[in-house]
């Protein structure tokens, strides 16, 4: 787009036409305060914090929505502007309960920061302060309306990005309140607990149960990493205080997820209840004993040495590329991937999902698994008018978004529709892969996003773990599990039949049902390495916490040492 010339606070710059004043100011290196605006969603000009003076306009204009035009002259710090910002802040502080000393957001709150910046040192207006009941019905985070400033970021992310449309408003004017669905408790609503609203809330209105009061923004560090929960491979920001990850946030700059996470990546690690494996465990009949290092590694070494080539190594998706490579070179025998293998040709990227005009989802429920991909489907349907066909019977959380549901037998109909679409994308899990392949091979324009549990399935294939484990007999079976909890009962049954099973895992369950020895393994927060997600993009997992649990490489070393 051609450039237009604008003058902001005396600086003349050229910016692309169609920019907002806010965007233009950022290009000029001028910071304009905002509150309801958030870079990931459409601006609505509601809070009026970003008001600026645009010459020739009668009233002040919101920088976040006002489009630039050639020759425009803008003042972002004039007396009038500062006065307006103070006025708006004073009104906000008079509206609900903002006694910051009791608020978990104090120190990280965007409203409070602005109050400091504009030197609000007293309350100007009367404060009748209505009290609202706190809604604590949701498992992971709490809604405290008393701190809410009705900026609607939560409503907008849930609608525009998550595509869920759970949140809305009831009442008008000063009585407006954020609600879920038709005003049901949040915990009973259509919310999928992705936590995106929590992440964007500028105030203490949405409160994370796990990290509340655990550290303000200047007391924490942020480490960019990658979720290993599934092959979408979402970029994360691990919020760390005193060597502990207190909260996980989505990384706005990360390609596949652009800031979004699902409950698995955001909340599950903080709410883990399984018993951690910190020392090697050795089975004695039905009981387990904590073995001293040498004894346990010695036992494993002995068994492995005796097994020769009859070793089977089974890795979960929580194993990094580097860990897999270390296993590959140190352990003999056959290598397996714990789950069904993902499809690797004609793969659709997340960007393809965001451009699809037709989604065909075969035999899986994207509201339960691979949710961030599900969000792309939902927002595609809601925001771009894309169509969704669900193939397969049974309950499906995406049914409300689907324009059609067909049985496995009706593939011909689906193929015909896909042929008339411009950018059809088939989305499949392990169960629907056969149907998905059939559609993709019949429709040249179609691409396939195939997901299987675990974040590094493709990396493991690349590292030689290219077979699906089906209970193959071996003298020693080594399961490298990491923190996976998605374990099929069939896998456990197969392992129970094996002679000797060594499991390297972060948590005892469910492996204590099948293992003879359990060796400790770091979690994804504690290790660094590479994963390759469903569309083949490699990314880095970065350690955010230190641990005394040995790395997998160290464990391999100790076993090798014991053999010698």
């Amino acid at each position: 787009m051609p450039d237009v010339h604008v003058t902001i606070d005396g600086t003349e710059i050229a910016v692309p036409s169609g920019s907002t004043v806010l965007e233009a100011a950022r290009i000029a290196g001028i910071e304009v305060d905002t509150l309801c605006d958030h870079p990931a969603i459409e601006p609505i000009g509601a809070c009026r914090i970003c008001l600026v003076e645009v010459e020739k306009q009668r009233a002040l204009q919101p920088a976040c929505t006002f489009p630039v035009s050639d020759g425009m002259v803008v003042h972002t710090r004039s007396e009038k502007v500062v006065g307006a910002r103070k006025f708006v802040l004073q009104l906000l502080f008079s509206e609900r309960n903002h006694f910051c000393m009791f608020c978990q957001m104090s120190g990280s709150c965007e409203l409070q920061n602005l109050a400091y910046k504009y030197e609000l040192d007293h309350w100007q207006f009367n404060r009748p302060m209505p009290t609202y009941a706190v809604d604590a019905s949701r498992e992971y985070f709490v809604m405290d309306h008393n701190r809410c400033i009705l900026c609607r970021r939560c409503i907008r992310v849930c609608d525009e990005l998550v595509g869920n449309g759970t949140l809305g408003l009831k009442n008008r004017g000063a009585d407006a309140v954020i609600i879920a669905d038709l005003d049901v408790p949040f915990g009973e609503s259509s919310c999928i607990s992705c936590g995106t609203c929590l992440q964007v809330c500028p105030t203490g209105a949405l409160m994370d149960r796990a990290s509340a009061y655990m550290g303000a923004s200047d007391q924490v560090e942020r480490v960019k990493s990658r979720c290993m929960g599934c092959p979408v491979g979402c970029g994360t920001e691990l919020v760390v205080r005193d060597g502990q990850v207190i909260r996980v946030e989505g990384d706005w700059d990360a390609e596949p997820n652009k800031g979004l996470l699902c409950v698995v990546g955001r909340f599950d690690p903080q709410h883990e209840v399984r018993e951690r494996v910190r020392k090697p465990l050795v089975r004695q009949g039905d009981a387990w004993s904590i073995a001293d290092g040498e004894a346990a590694y010695g036992l494993v070494a002995e068994k492995v040495a005796a097994a020769g080539d009859s070793v089977a190594t089974v890795a979960s998706g929580f194993v990094t590329l580097e860990e897999a490579q270390a296993l590959g070179s140190a352990v003999r025998g056959r290598k397996f991937y714990m789950y069904d293998l993902p499809q690797t040709d004609r793969t659709a990227t997340m960007a393809d999902l965001d451009e699809a005009d037709l989604f065909i989802v075969t035999e899986m429920d994207l509201s339960l698994d691979f949710q961030v991909a599900g969000m792309a489907v939902k927002r595609g349907v809601r925001k771009r008018g894309a169509r969704l066909i669900l193939v397969g019977e049974g309950e499906n959380g995406l049914a409300d978004w689907a324009s059609m549901r067909v049985g496995r037998a009706d593939l011909a109909k689906v193929i015909a529709m896909a042929k008339s679409a411009e950018r059809p994308v088939v989305v499949s899990g392990p169960a629907g892969l056969a149907a998905a392949r059939e559609i993709v091979s019949a429709v040249p324009a179609a691409s396939l996003a195939s997901f299987a549990p675990g974040g590094n399935g493709r990396g493991l294939c690349d590292a030689g773990f290219g077979q699906t484990y089906a209970g193959d007999a071996a003298k020693v079976t080594v399961v490298v599990a990491g923190e996976t909890s998605q374990v099929e009962p069939g896998l456990l049954d197969a392992l129970k039949k094996q002679e000797f099973v060594v499991v390297v895992a972060s948590y005892r369950e469910p492996w204590d049902q099948v293992a003879d020895v359990i060796l400790p393994m770091p979690t994804a927060f504690e290790k660094s390495g590479t994963t390759v997600c469903a569309d083949g993009q490699a990314g880095q997992v970065v350690a955010a916490m230190s641990t005394r649990v040995p790395t997998l490489e160290a464990t391999i070393g100790m076993v090798a040492e014991a053999i010698r």
């Binding site: 809070c47 009233a59 708006v88 009104l91």
Partner: protein, 618 residues
């Protein structure tokens, strides 16, 4: 079948006002009576839209004489038919009487209420049967559409509307032709025209009257607009509380289709047009054009910042022209009679007429259409007949709840968009409320502010929170708890809301308070500094006393007091216990000797114990 030639036409108003005072039964009775006497081939009974003088309804006008009958009940019908239609005499007890002089005025044109009016926008209202497209056509209807489609290019139409100087009647007074030009020039092949018939001001009903009384005029205006901006689809957003308007719109659209005036290839010109009626949810803010568009799209009806303006990005993000009902209703006449004709009515900068819903303390209330430039005095005194009951005029509020008020010194102001705005009032929705000395301006403002804050959508902070804070301050003042700092704070909030709010609702909410502070500041200060409500309306600041010199000791007040705080005995001076009095005013109403007085900011001396009548102060 040929239509008989009637010797008399009896026009029965079936507007909402008259309908609610029973015009349907009057109409039925008239038809039956005409039948009974076998006059049906000589006398035609026609149902029409509103004549504006609704307070006098049901209205019946008999033509060709133009005899104007008020409050005609079914039981009056026999006499009316007998006297007027058979014997050609006026039924004097049914004609209008000027309240002050009791002078009877039998003829429509001579009634003072109509004397200074100039009915242009409303020219068909109350004259034609709104359900008959033929009657509309007979009065020149759809001629303009034909002319536009056959003889004019879209830009010629826009030029004509621009030349007429027509300004939007939805409140802001933006030049209609210029707005059309913006939509016409906007990029895009799909465009829409939208008619704003939300009419959310509780006191206004002119849009309703036009839609009920002359729906085709709006439809024709919209089609002419559609042709000139390049739109083939139009939406009329009409509040659901107007069922009759909606019904008549549907009927009118159906008829227009039947006559080939709507649909495909109208008049063989290749121009296609369809019209859809959308029922509004009834929120005041839905009348704001961007909120209206959101509501038509099925979203929560809330305004969004402009730009982008609807002319560039409106309905479903397509270029959209939004005009008010009255704006469209003027268009066909402008095309038919020429821009020059229109521009000569009214004032040079505000040509045409203004329609007001005149209410409050005037003798004649109702809907009036007057040329722009008329003075408020002419409206209130000549048309409205002045303030009744010998009371003093105090103020007139124009523009509805977002408008402003003017004092007696503003009565000679000429009414048009710009002069009203300069004086702190606005044209707005066309509401015009006259108040007399018994109205407290603090209470009056509180009433409008209560309405506006309840209707704030809650999206932007200045309106959502500022309005509420301002209402609290005003309430404090009316309860005698206010300070001078509160008045200043009201002004500060008002300035902030005006400059910082997202839409005109928030920007204009302070209007009534600001204008009242401008013209009646002393009244606010009396509340604050003296604890006195000059109009003696603010309950917290008034008290009732029994004048000890006037009390006759009859005891009627004592028996009537609902909380029994009056002390007294036969032939003893009665005393009100001020602490328990709830200020209901019952004692004042019942006292046969007018001995109970209402005071504010002052007290009188009363006996401290029961003493005989006539002995006080002796």
């Amino acid at each position: 079948m040929t239509e008989p030639i009637y010797r008399a036409n009896v026009l029965v108003c079936a507007g909402t006002g008259c309908a609610s005072s029973g015009s349907r039964s009057t109409m039925a009775a008239l038809e039956a009576e005409v039948q009974r006497r076998g006059l049906q081939n000589e006398v035609r009974v026609v149902e029409t839209g509103c004549r504006g003088f609704c307070a006098m309804g049901p209205i019946v006008i008999v033509y060709p004489e133009g005899i104007f009958y008020c409050q005609v009940k079914p039981e009056d019908v026999e006499e009316l038919v007998e006297e007027t239609l058979v014997k050609g005499r006026v039924v004097s007890r049914l004609v209008y009487e000027v309240p002050d002089t009791q002078q009877a005025v039998p003829l429509y044109e001579q009634i003072p209420f109509y004397s200074k009016q100039q009915r242009i926008t409303l020219r068909n209202c109350g004259v034609i049967d709104p359900e008959s497209i033929d009657e509309y056509i007979a009065r020149g209807g759809y001629e303009a559409l034909g002319k536009v489609l056959q003889e004019m290019t879209p830009s010629q139409v826009i030029d004509e509307v621009k030349a007429s100087g027509l300004r939007g009647r939805g409140g802001a007074g933006f030049l209609t032709g210029l707005k059309w030009q913006f939509t016409a020039q906007a990029a895009g092949d799909i465009k829409y025209v939208v008619c704003n018939a939300d009419e959310g001001d509780p006191g206004a009903f002119m849009d309703r009257s036009i839609l009920e009384g002359d729906p085709h005029s709006v439809i024709e205006g919209m089609m002419i607009c559609g042709y000139s901006v390049g739109a083939h689809e139009g939406y009329i957003y009409c509040r659901a509380e107007y069922p009759l308007a909606i019904k008549r719109l549907h009927l009118a659209i159906e008829k227009a289709h039947e006559y080939g005036l709507m649909g495909k290839d109208i008049f063989g010109s290749g121009f296609d047009f369809e019209l859809i009626v959308k029922e509004g949810a009834g929120a005041f803010v839905c009348g704001e054009e961007t909120a209206l568009i959101a509501s038509v799209e099925g979203r929560r009806g809330e305004p969004r910042p402009r730009p982008p303006f609807p002319a560039n990005q409106g309905l479903w993000d397509r270029p959209t022209n939004v005009n008010n009902v009255k704006s469209y209703a003027n268009v066909a006449q402008i095309i038919r009679n020429g821009a020059e004709w229109f521009s000569k009515i009214g004032t040079p900068k505000s040509p045409g007429t203004a329609i007001f819903a005149l209410t409050g303390k005037v003798q004649n209330t109702g809907l009036i259409e007057v040329p722009m430039g008329i003075t408020l005095r002419e409206i209130i005194y000549d048309i409205g007949g002045g303030v009744p009951d010998g009371k003093q005029f105090k103020a007139v509020q124009t523009g509805g709840p977002l408008g402003g008020c003017l004092p007696a010194s503003g009565l000679d102001l000429q009414v048009d968009f710009d002069s009203l705005r300069a004086a702190g009032a606005v044209m707005g929705s066309g509401g015009m409320i006259v108040v007399d000395e018994d109205t407290c301006m603090v209470e009056f403002c509180k009433y409008f502010l209560t309405f506006a804050t309840a209707e704030s959508c809650g999206k932007c902070v200045p309106c959502r929170v500022g309005g509420r804070r301002m209402l609290e301050l005003l309430t404090r003042i009316s309860e005698g708890q206010g300070t001078m700092a509160d008045i200043e704070m009201i002004e500060e909030i008002a300035r902030g809301m005006d400059s910082d709010s997202l839409c005109a609702l928030g920007q204009l909410t302070p209007g009534p308070v600001l204008s009242a502070l401008r013209y009646f500041r002393d009244e606010f200060e009396a509340h604050v500094l003296e604890g006195r409500c000059p109009a003696k309306q603010c309950v917290a600041l008034t008290s009732f006393y029994i004048d000890p010199a006037a009390c006759k000791g009859c005891g009627i007040c004592k028996r009537a007091c609902p909380v029994q705080v009056i002390e007294g005995d036969r032939r003893m001076i009665h005393i009100i216990n001020q602490d328990g009095c709830i200020k209901c005013g019952t004692c004042q109403e019942v006292c046969p000797f007018d001995s109970v007085i209402k005071l504010s900011g002052e007290t009188i001396e009363v006996p401290t114990e029961l003493i005989p009548v006539g002995s006080f102060g002796k």
